[in-house]
């Protein structure tokens, strides 16, 4: 069996095990252990435990549970609802303002939450029922909530960027900044499609239940601004380099816990303990996938699969858009089955040398990769956000949600093309603020 054949066999086995419903972490780890035991016997298992254990030995990863803690504190509080409310009040005169408010809230809330599903849940909880009630077409409403949620992995702080930064040994603060404008661009594309689709459907947009006075518009601002200040503070700390990501994350988490206590009265020990437990649950789920992906990567490298793939791609001598097309197709397929952090951890060691060798910027590529992996959040079979939307609107068939999400996938694809032709969308802000990188 050549390494490439072995790689194909392993990929097939992994997909089969995943389809059975085995959690991603144990599917990756289980296939890795099985392959090592099958081909190497007991000797193959020598390094299994320490690879799995020490995959997490990186102080930068401490930012993961801490950013998750900040996001959970915000999403268990009414902060996302207030963000929506703020945008609603300010946009109530705009035709289609309601859907713009929801997408805008997704974008802003992505700055508090570092995962896609948390954003989707926090904004969609009230957003989706309201959109449907205000007579937006089901597909557009569901698609906008699902797609808006995908911004969580692109807009800083973002767990995928942290993992990319660790795997490729790049500056995490710079990666965060690189994701900011592309996140705004994608929001714009989502808004454009939603408005077009909603208009074509009924010839007019769902109205607001009522208008809002000037006082009402200003009244909600003090509740929301503190949370926006946290986001700005994190970005400022990382941009100027005064704090490392995990330090900024800790301070941001503490401040966020204080804000939800002060603004929303969540100061009781039970409320704070609930936040802590939920954050533990979400962070541990991400971290164990990282450990398992490292074990899987160790297995692939051990059998020479990684090296063989690298050589094959190198021999193909793809350049420019051909290379990017091939890589994006690969990412699209991988993202169908695996969460973004797993794909990044396993692919970055192979892809980043190829991409930088072909003259592309590694920070720009982080954005392209993350945007591509956003698609996996709204496509089956993994499609985490699709299932959240379905849980939020149980009467809506999955087929309708999928159909509604499809145009948003095209928006994301369009965003990737735009990033290819205008890499400045990703690189301008970090270059401007931090100077060109070496």
């Amino acid at each position: 069996m050549t390494p490439l054949e072995l790689g194909a066999a392993v990929a097939l086995a992994t997909i089969l095990v995943l389809l059975l419903g085995v959690p991603v972490a144990f599917a990756l780890g289980g296939v890795a252990i099985a392959a090592l035991a099958w081909f190497e016997g007991a000797d193959g298992l020598d390094r299994v435990a320490d690879t799995f254990l020490w995959a997490l030995e990186d102080t930068a990863l401490v930012a993961v549970p801490l950013f998750v803690l900040m996001g959970v504190a915000a999403s268990l509080s009414p902060a996302a609802g207030d963000l929506r409310e703020l945008l609603k009040r300010w946009l109530h005169k705009m035709p289609g303002g309601l859907i713009v408010a929801n997408l805008g809230a997704s974008m802003l809330f992505s700055g508090l939450s570092s995962t896609g599903s948390a954003t989707c849940m926090a904004v969609g909880r009230d957003g989706l029922p309201e959109l449907r009630e205000r007579r937006y077409p089901d597909g557009v409403a569901a698609g906008a909530i699902a797609a808006g949620g995908t911004l969580g992995i692109l807009i800083p702080p973002s767990l995928t960027m942290i993992v990319y930064g660790i795997a490729a040994d790049l500056d995490i603060g710079r990666l965060f900044l690189a994701g900011l404008l592309p996140g705004v661009m994608l929001t714009g594309l989502f808004v454009a499609w939603s408005l077009m689709a909603a208009r074509r459907w009924r010839g007019r947009y769902g109205d607001f239940a009522r208008g809002y006075s000037k006082d009402e518009r200003w009244a909600i601002l003090p509740k929301v601004l503190p949370f926006m200040a946290i986001i700005a503070g994190v970005l400022y700390a990382l941009w100027t380099g005064i704090a490392r990501p995990f330090e900024a994350a800790a301070v941001a988490a503490v401040v966020c816990l204080i804000f939800v206590a002060l603004i929303y009265g969540m100061w009781r020990a039970t409320a704070q303990w609930r936040i802590l437990r939920e954050a533990t649950r979400e962070a541990a789920a991400v971290l164990i996938v990282i450990a398992a992906a490292a074990l899987f990567g160790h297995m692939l490298a051990h059998f020479g699969v990684t090296q063989a793939v690298e050589r094959t791609v190198f021999d193909l001598d793809l350049r420019g858009w051909e290379l990017m097309l091939a890589i994006n197709l690969y990412l699209l397929i991988a993202g169908l089955f695996l969460p973004a952090v797993a794909v990044i951890l396993m692919s970055v060691p192979v892809l980043v040398p190829i991409v930088t060798g072909a003259g592309f910027d590694p920070y720009w590529f982080a954005v392209v990769m993350t945007v591509n992996l956003q698609i996996g959040l709204i496509t089956p079979p993994l499609g985490l956000n699709l299932y959240i939307v379905q849980a939020l609107a149980p009467d809506m068939p999955l087929r309708a949600i999928l159909k509604g999400a499809l145009p948003f996938i095209l928006c994301i694809a369009y965003g990737i093309v735009a990033l290819y032709f205008y890499p400045e969308i990703a690189t301008w802000l970090p270059d401007r603020l931090m100077g060109p990188h070496a």
Partner: protein
């Protein structure tokens, strides 16, 4: 059997509490690092190392709790498409595969732990502070995860399908050991 399942579930939930306390410890320690580094201006030595070990430990200790609350990311396209009988068969199969992985890792980590003890982690300065934490957490956490999978399998076999619900309020689903859902109703 029911008592055993309840006992294991309670143990897994307790793990969640321990792991949450570890998250709190990580938060406090990193804040300590920040205060020392920026306010006091002292060099930070062992804290960063310890904080990393605590994070590793909490990942493994939390894993049975994550399972009980159905927090591990997985694909449930196929189980959703099947009827109750098919779901149970797939559920058992998936639990057996996952348990196989857990037992493999737990076994391998015991070897690692033994090696670490025999080479004496306490005497050797290079081993640093709290190195035993991850070494102990891996077999304990993953071992308890295997136990929780055993409880899941027992549950399937005795007709008490573990719930796949997740609560929209973000509250960990309390009825993981509750009555089975009938039909193919999606959460």
């Amino acid at each position: 059997m029911t008592v055993l399942i309840h006992l294991i579930t309670a143990l897994s939930k307790f793990c969640g509490g321990v792991a949450a306390a570890l998250v709190l410890a990580v938060l406090i320690l990193v804040c300590d690092i920040v205060v020392l580094r920026y306010l006091v201006g002292l060099p930070v030595t062992w804290q960063a190392e310890l904080v990393t070990y605590l994070m590793i430990a909490l990942t493994f200790i939390a894993s049975p709790y994550v399972l009980v609350t159905r927090g591990h990311v997985n694909m449930d396209v196929l189980p959703r498409a099947l009827g109750r009988a098919g779901r149970i068969v797939l559920g058992v199969l998936a639990a057996v595969i996952s348990m196989g992985f857990c037992l493999g890792i737990a076994w391998a980590s015991l070897g690692l732990l033994r090696e670490a003890v025999s080479e004496g982690w306490r005497s050797d300065m290079v081993w640093g502070i709290g190195l035993w934490i991850p070494y102990v957490a891996l077999p304990v956490g993953i071992g308890l995860l295997a136990l929780q999978y055993l409880a899941d399998i027992l549950g399937y076999v005795s007709g008490r399908e573990p719930s796949v619900d997740f609560d929209l309020e973000g509250e960990p689903s309390p009825d993981a050991d509750g009555p089975a859902e009938g039909g193919g109703a999606a959460p």
